[in-house]
């Protein structure tokens, strides 16, 4: 965790970032890399001598709505960016969750943080993850070198796709100093279909049925009764939700088709666009499990098996991504959680509570991973211990 006494550096240019990292390498010091600091509690950085904050690298460098690309510094706040693109009728396609409240953090999440953690919201199932919209970067590796990779256009295969590698590396390979992302037009409208009282397995079947239909579903979530009874829904029954987005006529046509298809799962109610937006913000931010005390897991599994996570581990669950993403508040032993999830072909990350956060790797994958880390950061300057692998 954060050493409160560690001095904080706030470089204003990429060159300053490179100097700080290079100096740390020469002096054998370690750095904790932060943006808004909201995700600092996930994965403990151990033994950092200083904090390198990117809050002063917060400019939008270029935004060309008609080109569908946006280039910005990593410290730009997600909320500000969302406002900027919304003013042009566009959106961040991966619908990044902010999670500050879930994690009990005071700051505001940044674009760089969302990319470094590869965090994606409910639209992941249709539009893709953060990594899918990460087109190019400038970053400082652990060697203190300022490098560029990728490009500023939406289609590019020139050289290795280092953006993918950096996405989800949690600041352990390089410090982002500039990123280019793909943006998309925001949907004109949306509607959500709600079903009530389904058990987890049946809800999984309903979500799968919706995803197998040619309906371009852009959100599928399930809150079991215990989770649905918490704020903000405060309902009495389990809630299963399917989101459709797009042009009005299209959403209406697809909605009609799905209502018929899902009739066998019981009554289907519709949420209008405004309420639908509110509902999916709840899902994206995992609001039902905010403020809890127990361990909170983010679990990624093959979607069709999502319901088995709750069945085998108990606790309070919130299912997103058609079952592929399970937020689980559970008192189960961490080893048991990891064992169950691994057997289902997935992995678990501890977002709240004591213990190692990230899934340990083993075998050739672990040694390959260590070599990749050494390729970028041979001296272990960046976020030591964060991924639990030294």
């Amino acid at each position: 965790m954060l050493d409160v006494a560690a001095p904080m550096e706030k470089p204003k240019t990429a060159g300053e970032v490179a100097q700080i990292v290079a100096d740390a390498g020469s002096a054998g010091r370690k750095l904790e890399i932060v943006g808004g600091g909201t995700k600092r509690g996930i994965g403990a950085v151990r033994g950092a001598d200083a904090v390198l904050s990117l809050v002063s690298l917060a400019k939008v460098i270029d935004y060309a709505p008609e080109e569908l690309v946006l280039t910005a510094q990593p410290g730009v706040k997600l909320a500000a960016l969302e406002k900027l693109v919304a003013a042009q009728g566009q959106m961040l396609p991966f619908e990044p969750p902010h999670l500050a409240k879930l994690l009990g953090a005071g700051g505001q999440p940044t674009l760089g943080g969302a990319l470094a953690a590869n965090l994606s919201g409910p639209r992941r199932i249709r539009t893709g993850a953060a990594r899918d919209h990460f087109l190019g970067l400038q970053a400082v590796t652990g060697r203190g070198e300022l490098v560029r990779a990728g490009g500023r256009v939406v289609k590019n295969v020139t050289g290795y796709d280092l953006s993918k590698l950096i996405a989800g590396s949690w600041g352990t390979l390089a410090v982002l100093t500039e990123v280019t992302i793909k943006v998309l037009p925001a949907p004109r409208t949306e509607v959500t279909l709600l079903m009530f009282g389904l058990d987890d397995r049946r809800a999984g079947e309903a979500m799968t049925a919706a995803l197998r239909a040619p309906a371009e579903v852009s959100g599928t979530a399930h809150l079991p009764a215990a989770t649905a009874s918490r704020p903000p829904l405060g309902g009495e029954m389990a809630v299963t939700a399917i989101r459709l987005e797009g042009f009005e006529a299209s959403v209406a046509a697809r909605g009609d088709g799905l209502v018929t298809l899902l009739g066998r799962f019981g009554r289907v109610e519709l949420l209008d666009a405004g309420h639908s937006r509110e509902f999916w913000a709840h899902i994206r931010e995992v609001e039902a499990l905010q403020g809890g005390a127990g361990r909170l897991w983010r679990i990624s599994v093959p979607p069709a098996d999502g319901w088995r996570v709750g069945e085998q581990l108990g606790g309070e669950a919130l299912y997103d991504w058609g079952g592929g993403l399970v937020w689980l508040q559970s008192e189960a032993d961490p080893a048991q959680v990891r064992g169950v999830v691994r057997a289902l072909g997935g992995h678990a990350t501890l977002y709240r509570g004591e213990g190692p956060a990230f899934e340990p790797l083993s075998g050739p994958l672990a040694t390959l991973t260590a070599r990749v880390k050494a390729a970028f950061d041979p001296l272990g300057v960046l976020n030591p211990g964060r991924l639990g692998q030294g």
Partner: protein
Amino acid sequence: MKMPLPDAALIARKGQIVRALKRLVRGEGVVGDPAGLVPFESDGLSAYRQTPIAVVLPETTAQVAAVLAWCQANGVKVVPRGAGTSLSGGALPLQDGIVLGMAKFNRILEVDYGNRCAVVQPGVTNLAITGAVEADGFYYAPDPSSQIACTIGGNVAENSGGVHCLKYGLTTNNLLGCEIVLMSGEVVRLGGKGFDAAGYDLMGVVTGSEGLLGVVTEVTVRLLTKPQTARAMLLGFASVEAAGATVADIIGAGIIPAGMEMMDRPAIVAAEAFVGAGYPTQAEALLIVELDGPEAECAELSDHVADLAKTRGATTIRASQSEAERLAFWAGRKAAFPAVGRISPDYYCMDGTIPRRELPHVLSTITQMGLEYGLGVANVFHAGDGNLHPLILYDADKPGQLEAAEAFGADILKLCVAVGGVLTGEHGVGVEKRDLMGEMFSDVDLACQQRVKCAFDPDLLLNPGKVFPRLHRCAELGRVHVHRGATAFPELPRF
């Protein structure tokens, strides 16, 4: 294009190498005789040919692992190959290396509609995946023009695109997992059926790595549900500028078409002469815009697109009224390359991407360059995502024309980079654009990429001579010197 100097000692060991490989892959899986090697001498970049020491055609992951481990232990270079359709020389053999052909990995292992994915072997063709699932209403989205022949393993290596990737993404956006074998023979599984995996996104960096990091032995792809309907529109314009402005207007209206293609007049004329698709041959630019989704959506959006085109002065506006007509609209575009092949003895296809706003400037500059080189050029263009395919017309039998075409192509790619674009949108760097990498990346950038190569293949035996203009030994790249109180890494090599 220069390849690394072949190692004569290795070539001299051919007999021993073939015998050793035959012990690892029994039966007909090792080709060593000169006649048998001929089909493997080249890939889709057919101006280049080299005869490898041998071709190995394994059938199991264990055989791949054994072959790679043996080659690593014996210092033998390996070029992986799918169907050999690479347009950038990604599968061009090395004279002192073997080709590892993955054609026998041709089975679809599992179709899992519950998780909307398919697990396939790398030698399965791109189109065969869709073929296996379309009766159930599914398809695999990336559709490179070679999809009838190219393999999914090759698609992973090249991160292949296609006409529908503006809306549905490249290969990398449609993968869930893969199994790769490292040069050491170690087998690593990356990803699975879930939406993300533990650890670094190594699958993300393997995708598009052009066969330099590992050999793909299994792929899990996402399956999408087929749109209910699709409608294509033909829009003719009197200028490239008007067509380009229409593209911007369409995207500005919040419409992301399933496909949005542009052809310039030489391409229109060639395609029309070849297939008679009904293209307006007087137009200076033609757009094909495909909309898909429910009928109600296609109807609404095609009206909208027609209005936008009209505002920009379109001279032709037609919407397909039947599936047959939709396919006819596409027939000319899909036949554009062979159509150009009929009007010119040879053509050379480029693949840069540019910010779309630069299109008029780039096309007029290309036309000017063509005049200077004395070579014709026809342009087809994935207009939605800015991926340009100028086809340079030349005659290889005329002395100097191939060299002129290559120089012209290099100038086009430099222009793409100069206006903020990139060298290759979907065909890969390979050998073709290798020596232009310095236009886009500094030596420090390239060294960083090459260190990733070193993490996967420290002896640089997997597909060397591709992508990187110079191969630095990994020991040299890995050096880190730290001096107390000194400036940062003064001894680090800066190339």
